[in-house]
């Protein structure tokens, strides 16, 4: 879904727009208190993390990012998100010291990542599935009533994917054509 506060969309639930807490669910069936700003699952250590970053920095009220549940084996998406916040990315756009299999941030500018690191405090509850404990930590964060971070930061995807114009005569792909008989050929032979 999309929401004016969360322009990148994704698989998430929006609750209280001016709340200071966003909750990341890692393989856990858990409904956070209704006074969080947004919550949803994280699955992948690349595209999934990008979406979370983009969708939290666009709401300056969010100051705490609570990660809870069990990290995903191999992908280590939750731990990779923590690593992004702690270390940032290297020149190859790889999250520094991330344990995930493919921890690359390719669609966000470094300014967006710096904003994420400055705006948010990570509450690392990875490994905790006790709902009462998670509830308690969320309530503590909300009780602190931190100030808004200021203006929303609307992250722009770095590279829009190629699109086809209506007058483009290609079929299938820019380099591959299919003729009227159904033969596929490389454009230009």
């Amino acid at each position: 879904m999309k929401n004016e506060y969360y322009p990148w969309g994704g698989d998430f639930t929006v609750c209280k727009p001016d709340s200071c807490v966003a909750v990341v669910l890692l393989q856990i069936e858990y409904m956070p208190p209704s006074d969080v700003a947004i919550f949803g699952p994280l699955r992948t250590e690349n595209i999934g993390i990008e979406k979370i970053v983009a969708n939290v920095i666009s709401n300056p009220h969010i100051r705490y990012l609570v990660l809870c549940g069990e990290d995903i084996r191999g992908h280590c998406s939750g731990s990779s998100l923590v690593a992004l916040h702690k270390n940032g990315i290297d020149e190859q756009h790889k999250i520094i010291l991330a344990p995930g299999a493919i921890p690359y941030i390719e669609n966000l500018k470094s300014k967006a990542i710096e904003r994420f690191r400055a705006q948010l405090k990570i509450i690392d509850l990875i490994g905790i599935k006790d709902k009462a404990k998670i509830d308690k930590k969320i309530k503590e964060c909300i009780a602190k009533k931190p100030a808004s971070f200021g203006e929303p930061y609307i992250a722009i995807r770095i590279k829009p994917e190629a699109s086809v114009k209506l007058d483009d005569k290609r079929a299938l792909h820019s380099r591959i054509v299919v003729n009227y008989m159904g033969k596929i050929e490389k454009r230009g032979g």
Binding site: G74, H75, A101, P103, I105, E106, K159, E161, I184, K186
Partner: protein
Amino acid sequence: MFLFTKKQEVLDISGIKIGGQPGEHPTVLFGGVFFKGEPDFEKERKGIQNMLDLSQKTGNPAIPDFFIKKEEYMEKIMDFIEQTLPKNYPFSIDIVDPSIKINALENLGERHLLNRTIYNSIHVGITDKERETLKQHRPEMAIIVAFNPKDRSPDGKIEVLANGAHLTDKGLLAIADEIGIKKILIDTAALAPGENSGASIAAIPVVKEEYGLPAGCAIHNVVEKSSWLKNFESARKIVDTSSNVNIALFGGNYAIYGPLENADMVFPTMAWQDILVSEYMDNYFGIKPSDNHPRRKFF
């Protein structure tokens, strides 16, 4: 339905053929073993037998795709592979964690199983240690996942295969070549809805015309990630099953269709789709179906 002008490779692993022009060889179906939760060996033993029976009936080759999620499962799963599969039968290992991948390769080497192994998978996250281990313990066949986190279009998928899209020091095909793996399947990396999920299907003919290699994907992943489908429970399995026909329709050669228990639905569906493709390819382009093709089984 398409005919490719580029010569299409047909790869063989223990007698199972993957690749070729659409309508030539039946779609190879990879069923996930130990897909979710703790391994249930008795349940999966029956599931594998059921899949092999369905394969006999329809003609669609079956490959058990073994998930190894924890190190502690390794020995038991390897024993299970040796004891459960018919002699010399091929299988794939589906592992995400890099350290488990390395240990699995060493284990397969010690057990002399590498000549039956399809390594699932090589991708842009490949580590130096994994590359070295693959050189020492080389599987017969490997799946290369053409996932490009920056560009999810067919062009982006080609980019990681050709030059690594700056994520690896060279293209994934060159890495596989350097390791010495000669038999390569391309997985066009099905992503969640909203992440250009359709590109995994559109990329199949692009990859095949570009490289002539067998191509396919795990399109069922897109269904798994379509959480809105939870509101249509009775349709969910049907959508999951039928999503695979897109692969065959776009000229693909294999489908990684999800957990074994989907086999009852997937095998007849794909046999039906293969017959549909074969009839046209034969009548229009003269592509004859192979001896074990579903069209030869049922007509």
